[in-house]
Assembly symmetry: C2
Homo-oligomer: 408 residues x 2
DNA sequence: TTCGTTTGGTGTCCCAGAGAACATAACACC
DNA sequence: GGTGTTATGTTCTCTGGGACACCAAACGAA
């Protein structure tokens, strides 16, 4: 039911203003449905702590705007009247953009973290910020008709491998892309015509794993990704992403792990990402490069003692970084992605043992190492989460003002 | 004005139940007044974003319960009707307890972080958990008459140098005290008759510095304290204390800073607190021990090159730990307390330069090293914050149910 | 079939915050 | 030293929104 029109002299503010309490509750329900993909009304009632009747009203309001829809209850073997199931609308979606050294990937992601479409645009050389924005805008332009007809886009999220200030979406420094002080979010927003935000790739990955992946249901998580160009980290503490003063927090790739280690491109020495790198492994294997699964195959196939030694050397340094992380964050889950996941898969108990013996007893007992669960969709889901953020903070306000209110 | 009695059939729940929104706003105002000590009604209106009239009602409610009081405006040179000033009631207080290896300190702290009383009970030997609890309970018993007559005690907070689970106030491991799995909060609660909570000392210190000290007005802060028994850390990110899964987060004293370093009592090697310790300094100075100011004097007085070299050695390791912290948390402030503060005071620019050259450019530019601002009251204020926690979360509910509602 | 159980739906009640209008107390300017 | 301006406290009314009670509906169990 729509809210009745106000009789009193209309205030200057647009009519989108909603009571904070109501907005909160609508946001809460939308987020829950987004995170769980399906949730019965009864479950929503329990999780929100709100009254049955209130939850009913809220869902009615969301359903009227086409943000969620209800389906007949699946007769679970339970006593009592069955509760209808609430799902996120498949028409709400966000765009995800991920620039890398050899490609720009663009994705279309639904609420619930469902990747509808993923387009990888390979580039001849490392794309500049301008080029990456142009590629993304062009791909989005190509989808425009489809987007306009079948979707309501809440925004674009850009995952950047580097230091990003998420407040204004400016890339302060992305060493491997060679970007410096690029206002990527503003550029892409102007080029594509959607609201746009940017953040560090590993931070977004951590959030994605928290919501839909190996960290689901947890509140404290450390995510580490080993890629071709270095090691990125994202930390979730108390259910919230660690941002820091300017959003630069989480750079675990530059954890100190070795006295008089090699010089890192960051200027310091002994950084995790200079000592632990897939480049060293490929070099030892005599391969010129490849992706993660090729690396794992090659490592498993190799009988070379030099390779084995290098693996155990890298595991040692990784354990030091993880020891620090465990003592510092007391996480429930440590997620290793990319080639770090490969290293772990090769000798899981070796790393577990190192960690258990080096970290403080209390925190060490609780920290479980896991490989990433979301695979190749991870970064799309994480970036899309950025594109959903403003929508999820105020679903109805966003739809009635920020988007065309096309009925389903 | 008291809330009018409900006419409808009284529900089973006690009449203390309050609308969540109202409770939130009351808590918000109480916390603001607590943090700022004095705040005009106009300032409260701006900070809360609530309506003038609403703020008036809320303050009226708090004043009626004797939680805050208003005083005549101090005619600040400002146009317009002056706004009365709101201050926390001096009758609301929390107890603070801090067991150390050679003493148990008990404090009485008002809202606003005013330490009314501090009693240091020196012990012959390291107190057991039972002994520390008995000492605290005895001292509190001694104050009982005064407490009952002049104060309303919201609770006891215990700061423990070690791993503490703040959920149940159990000390998992306090190596220097030799405590293991001691339910300190429960023990003291039973012995003293007040609600009691316990947490890590450095975490509480970090909170105290955030609210009243060098981190006031900031949201991201790293606190490091160098004491006789090691180095403790507390981290505040996004305005919230880092807790981790069981509240063990923040153990920066066991950050890895040196390959093939000495073995730490925690089992690992190369920990910050084994390489950087005031014991080494006292040893080199040929002094058997002393407090922080004595150390500073002795270090400044000494012309020995060995001492100078040790100082620079320790600064180097400290810089490595701080580098990690800056890259990981992107804090605005790093607070160095205890002998770490002394080390910094001896060569501030040396540490600043090391940090600037080693940490990532973005985060490094923002992180400012500061000495602690709260001095010897720091731990009392921090522990008291724990004792205030439940009160601040629901001020009126707490007073009408949890405390005798003695009118002022 | 009947009963107990769980849930959705509807109507009522009332708290709590917003806002307008008025009152009040300072400064500023002539 | 009046008068205007500005900022704030005070009072009153209005309304949104959640809780609750009651009833209806839909399921399992006996």
């Amino acid at each position: 039911m729509m809210s009745s029109p106000r009789q009193r002299a209309a205030p200057a503010a647009p009519p989108s203003e909603l009571d904070p309490s109501r907005r909160n509750n609508l946001a809460l329900i939308t987020s829950l449905v987004h995170h769980h993909r399906v949730l019965s009304r009864a479950q929503l009632t329990k999780r929100t702590g709100l009254n049955r009747s209130t939850v009913g009203t809220l869902i009615g309001q969301l359903a009227a705007l086409g943000l969620v829809y209800e389906t007949a209850p699946t007769g679970g073997a339970q006593v009592g009247r069955p509760s209808p199931e609430v799902r996120p609308s498949p028409s709400i979606a966000a765009l995800a953009v991920y620039p890398e050294i050899d490609a720009v990937t663009i994705g279309l992601v639904n609420l619930g973290g469902i990747v509808q479409k993923k387009i990888r645009f390979a580039t001849e050389r490392i794309p500049s910020a301008r080029e990456a924005v142009n590629i993304a805008a062009a791909v989005i332009e190509g989808m425009r008709t489809e987007l306009d007809h079948s979707y309501r886009i809440t925004g674009i999220g850009v995952a950047v491998p580097g230091l990003v200030n998420p407040d204004d979406g400016t890339v302060r420094h992305a060493p491997h892309l060679g970007w410096r002080d690029e206002p990527v979010a503003r550029m892409l927003s102007e080029a594509a015509g959607y609201a746009c935000q940017a953040a560090n790739d590993a931070s977004l990955a951590a959030e994605a794993e928290l919501i839909f992946g190996a960290g689901a249901g947890r509140d404290n998580l450390v995510y580490l990704n080993g890629g071709a160009s270095g090691i990125g980290g994202g930390i979730i503490s108390n259910g919230m992403l660690l941002r820091g003063a300017s959003g630069y927090a989480g750079e675990l790739g530059h954890t100190f792990v070795r006295t008089s280690g090699e010089q890192c491109h960051c200027g310091a020495t002994g950084c995790l990402e200079t000592e632990v790198s897939q480049g060293r492994l490929f070099e030892l294997l005599g391969v010129s490069g490849g992706d993660t699964s090729q690396l794992e195959q090659a490592l498993r196939a190799s009988g070379s003692p030099a390779v084995a030694e290098e693996i155990s050397r890298q595991l040692g340094f990784l354990a030091i970084a993880l020891r620090n992380a465990v003592n510092t964050f007391n996480p429930e889950v440590i997620i290793l992605d990319g080639f770090l996941g490969v290293l772990y898969a090769l000798a899981p108990s070796a790393l577990d043992d190192l960690l258990l013996s080096q970290a403080l007893d209390g925190p060490a007992a609780q920290a479980k190492v896991h490989p990433a669960a979301l695979g190749s969709n991870l970064m799309m889901i994480g970036a899309a989460e950025l594109g959903f953020a403003r929508f999820l903070a105020d679903p109805t306000g966003f739809v009635t003002t920020g988007l065309g209110s096309a009925a389903e």
